[in-house]
Assembly symmetry: C2
Homo-oligomer: 206 residues x 2
DNA sequence: ACTGTTAAGTTATCACTGTTAAGATTAAGG
DNA sequence: CCTTAATCTTAACAGTGATAACTTAACAGT
């Protein structure tokens, strides 16, 4: 996700060729490298070999640009979750593995956490409407949980609450792992995955 | 916590009297009102009736200023938690009520969440050292949990994992509640407290 | 092949930000 | 009372997001 993008295209045209994508690549790269508050649109443009005002031909403003990165990151996260969903489909460990995938994603991309949840309205889709699927990451978790709920006779409200509790735990661990300093320290550990799994299953084991 | 601060002191002195505190008050006010990225040090200075460079006599830079706000907010949060701790001391619902206090704090002050956890190194105190008390909010929770752990024979590692799971759930719900749009919608509901309690206890009830 | 239209970039400029240096004003203490 | 240090001001710098006006290139239709 964080591969270093090329600075210039092959042709030295007045027109860039595919500036929006180049900007997004470079923007994501700088975001993951230096964090959100250090992300300068002008700097991104410069690294793409283009004038400071060029991005405004493709994005309404900086917020719009960040939102575009936001969407891309959310897509990547959702893809990883769906892959895990396929891998562990039907197995009992599915939900834990989904949570682990979620947490590991933000351990790999700590700077993406604030970007993803400080602007979009992902929370409303989670808290207020059980049927809403505006937050794709949450929807994958919901889908997995429902295959378990089938065997238990509980109310819709109770389902929603359990799902929210699960989400909160996973999301909270992701938030913790995204805090400064954690990634550098955890990525060295070889058994990080198991450590996180142990935390996510701590309630079950007691 | 968010009371509107006075713009000027009584005396029209060259020296302000207590500029650091005035700046912090105004800064916190603007933070909770407009969010972190809209927080301008110059604007804060102007509202305190002081030149743009005046804050630099008391704070090294903007980060240092934000860190000072950070500390103040963390203090307030800890105070609320300690009050809850006293109120429910010995009772079985203590931990849930602590979690509720934590979540409600960020429902009241949504913009404080990112400030509090995007810069400080609170996570290291949580994840890597069970004995560390650098994060006071976490320490209160830990203290409460230990009174429960006494009755169960479990390893230190297991204790740490359970505590991290609890922390993650509470912290994750706080993160969710801090997302844009949630506060306005939840504060209207009269039974918000019970709703959050139901989420935090969803695992126990099933 | 010419030409009008439009998309995509440039340059210049604006208001605003954090930050620093140098100087002015005041408070405090021997 | 005078020195010294703390506090605040003014002036300036570089960097930021953003907009307006202009230039270039691509492209369609006749």
């Amino acid at each position: 996700m964080t591969e270093k993008p090329e600075v210039k295209m092959a042709k030295e045209n007045y027109h860039h060729g595919n500036l929006p994508q180049a900007l997004l690549r470079q923007g994501l790269h700088m975001l993951t490298e230096y964090g959100e508050e250090k992300l300068s649109l002008r700097e991104v443009a410069k690294h793409c070999g283009v004038s400071p005002a060029a991005p405004y031909s493709h994005f309404k403003n900086k917020n719009d640009f960040i939102q575009a990165i936001n969407n891309y990151v959310m897509l990547k996260l959702t893809e990883e979750l769906q892959e895990t969903e396929k891998l562990y489909s039907g197995k009992k460990s599915l939900i834990i593995e989904l949570g682990l995938t979620y947490v590991l994603f933000f351990l790999k991309n700590p700077n993406c956490f604030s970007i993803l949840f400080s602007q979009s309205n992902h929370a409303e889709a989670i808290l207020f409407d059980y049927q809403d699927n505006a937050n794709p990451a949450f929807s994958v978790l919901k889908h997995a949980a429902e295959s378990i709920f089938e065997n238990f006779p509980i109310s819709e409200e109770q389902k929603h609450n359990i799902l929210l509790a699960m989400w909160s735990m996973v999301h909270g661990l992701a938030a913790t792992v995204s805090m400064p300093g954690v990634a550098e320290r955890m990525q060295q550990d070889l058994d990080t995955e198991q450590r996180l799994r142990d935390i996510l299953t701590a309630f079950q084991q007691s």
